[in-house]
Assembly symmetry: D2
Homo-oligomer: 140 residues x 4
């Protein structure tokens, strides 16, 4: 994480720069929409290559899992916690995600030296909950 | 899943055609390496856009989650079960995934009418376990 | 669930009668403290037999898992959903649970015909979050 | 874990003594049946107080979760790993557990300094798989 050592992770601009160090995050077209006291909000635009079922143009569950994972991890960083790697990840899929922008809302559940836990919910362009889940993140 | 209705999901060629209906699976460059009595084996080539940490060129945890998810689901289909959608997914990250081809080995734990469960393990190019996890899949 | 067919699951008294049909719930000494629009609140008294580490008198993680499981399931029932069995359960342990009464707060995340999902948080006698988690419950 | 400091955790007798330090484990009537190179085998007798649904005399899901949790943790200890606390736990319920003795088979997936992961499967008296799951355990 030394790559992000000079960035202000409590600011939208600094956190977004840290987030976009990852080539996969750039490919997904992620943006940091907001930082709050308990976590962050991320957006991802619709994109043909992330579709799972072409008949309904639903976003792939693995992409939704990526969003839960990274929104949880950067929520821990944004509120001042340590998160050097994801230990484990759990995702529940509630409804197919319709085409269009997705919004992901992260919330830190527990900050710990060894392990932190954060929840995240994914809403589609109409504000409907499509998936939610939780990551556990290793500290220093 | 009517798109895959005419395919022979117990054959490598038929299962791979079904798998590659999903644009995201095509983008990942997936191949079906083998089908066994308990599940399937998938490979994914290395690719710059799936990198998480550019300093070590590790594959993004969300991409690994995608591999666990889809290998479990297609393992259920390959052994004759029903799986129309992922209900939930859990992934443990054991080590950073080094650059190069990844191999994913799926194993069905329980076939059910309403819900099936399958495990998957991801090995890097040196055969080292980098992640493992489990999906629960809704039936008809 | 025919045993609970005549009970009013939206009332504290009816839900508690349904809850206490299970011998294990009676043994745990559970009480329904409240029913809200999104879920229920359960209490469990301290008890020597549920201790894990006798040096610190912490409640066993499996007992905490039981509380997450049952509070989620009865939250689904209390808000009018169907839940005939737990499909899967996930629990995060945040701190050792000190001796004394535990309070569990459930919240339904998604009501579905086939599968419902509910979260639960466990607070110790001082109101500190000791564990939290989620269950997925099969419908009819 | 200083309580278990003098016990030989690689022997059935030593591991069982360590296991039975926990009052809840004594109440459950646990026995260590075997220790292998990858994990341990535990048995639990049937008991009226652990029943969930009295109509079918099924064992409560929270008790099954306890068995997954403790069998994973003591599997880590038995093969020489460190496990001071459960970080998180995931359980899938495959079938109702019929009355009678349960057998739990643990297998270490990853030994780590900071975090270890172990799987466990629960078989009923007829050898049928009733539940399976995984724990992640904090090291020193």
């Amino acid at each position: 994480m030394s790559l992000i050592g000079d960035l202000d992770l409590a600011s939208v601009a600094g956190l977004e720069r840290a987030l976009l160090i990852a080539p996969f995050h750039r490919w997904l077209g992620l943006r940091v929409a907001a930082i709050g006291p308990q976590g962050i909000e991320i957006t991802m635009p619709g994109r043909q290559e992330v579709v799972s079922n072409p008949a309904v143009q639903s976003t792939h569950g693995g992409v939704l899992a990526s969003l839960i994972d990274l929104t949880g991890l950067y929520s821990v960083l944004a509120v001042g916690g340590l998160a050097t790697a994801t230990a484990d990840l759990r995702v529940d899929y509630h409804r197919p995600a319709k085409p269009g922008e997705l919004r992901v809302i992260g919330r830190v559940v527990k900050l710990g030296k060894r392990l932190s836990v954060a929840d995240a919910e994914i809403l589609d362009a109409e504000g409907v909950l499509v998936a939610s889940g939780r990551g556990a993140y290793l500290g220093g």
